[in-house]
Symmetry: D2
Amino acid sequence: MPSPNEAACLRACHECAVACLQCATACLREPDPKPMAHCIALDLECADLCQLAVASIARGDEQVTAICTLCAQACSRCAAECGKHDMDHCKRCAEACKRCADACGAMSN
Amino acid sequence: MPSPNEAACLRACHECAVACLQCATACLREPDPKPMAHCIALDLECADLCQLAVASIARGDEQVTAICTLCAQACSRCAAECGKHDMDHCKRCAEACKRCADACGAMSN
Amino acid sequence: MPSPNEAACLRACHECAVACLQCATACLREPDPKPMAHCIALDLECADLCQLAVASIARGDEQVTAICTLCAQACSRCAAECGKHDMDHCKRCAEACKRCADACGAMSN
Amino acid sequence: MPSPNEAACLRACHECAVACLQCATACLREPDPKPMAHCIALDLECADLCQLAVASIARGDEQVTAICTLCAQACSRCAAECGKHDMDHCKRCAEACKRCADACGAMSN
């Protein structure tokens, strides 16, 4: 069974991956997606790392802490970029990224 | 925002992916993993399809329904195999697989 | 060891996944990415299915044929969309998608 | 277009992911998979990181160097474990892991 930290991180990583991919899709559907290009790129990188972290925690990988540390960095970058935009999908994504960065950070404690 | 069916499927796919990978790891740690080899193989296939389904639903992929249909089939196979074994990790995985098969099936309604 | 069909499909799926993600990134960097939004969405879906197909063939999954069939459909859709655009990254992606659709189709023969 | 280092790393990561998953499946099919349990676990972790590295290089992710560094570490661990075993699938996997560790290491130069 996962520890409380692991259980919280599994949930946060899942929610962050979903929020990032929803944000990327919504950004692409904006009338002018050009100003969102950086946001979309960070969304995709962050979502991939979050899904890897989910798998890694569930398997109990040897390098799970390092994976979560890297995931936390991707989350922080994505939160910073999404935080610059006013659209609801960016706000939701920034919040999910912040929560996930915290949960991933707690994995190394 | 995801529809109620999509939201339920996102959650079920995530929980199933985690349960499958936890089951695979626990099977490998059994004193004799040989009788669990088929279970482990189905766990890995199912987990990968569940994580693809999560990404596909979140992105709103064109082929999301077909992906969920395939995921439901993997879940049903994995549930059937896990259901043959008495270990807690197999029971939990079988339950998660059944719920995910149902949620994925509902995506094509 | 993989059969000749499997070896060809592993290579084609890898090259297609890479071409799709390179195309998506290049589309996002176009001066006006709006006309490329559909292309980007199909690139991401196709790349994910190609990477799943690689894993599935390598593992020898029970549902590998169905996964390759679905992957071939994503490749065909992506090839059709990329084929509408004149940029080099789209042309290269369309070619990789066509080769992958053929290789995935041969997996069910 | 990818640089020579990136092109070499894309190929090495793909070949390593495939070799790892083939090794895991072959280990599970051994008459007694128990002594292979650690090898299987490292195979799965390494394959996932290799597939992430492929996607990350192809997208040109901001954190691609850090991802490749982590991937190189997984490859080195997996090569060390596979190197302890005499089966052909382990030997092939150890070689692919060593090549991938080198190629991923060259990404940070």
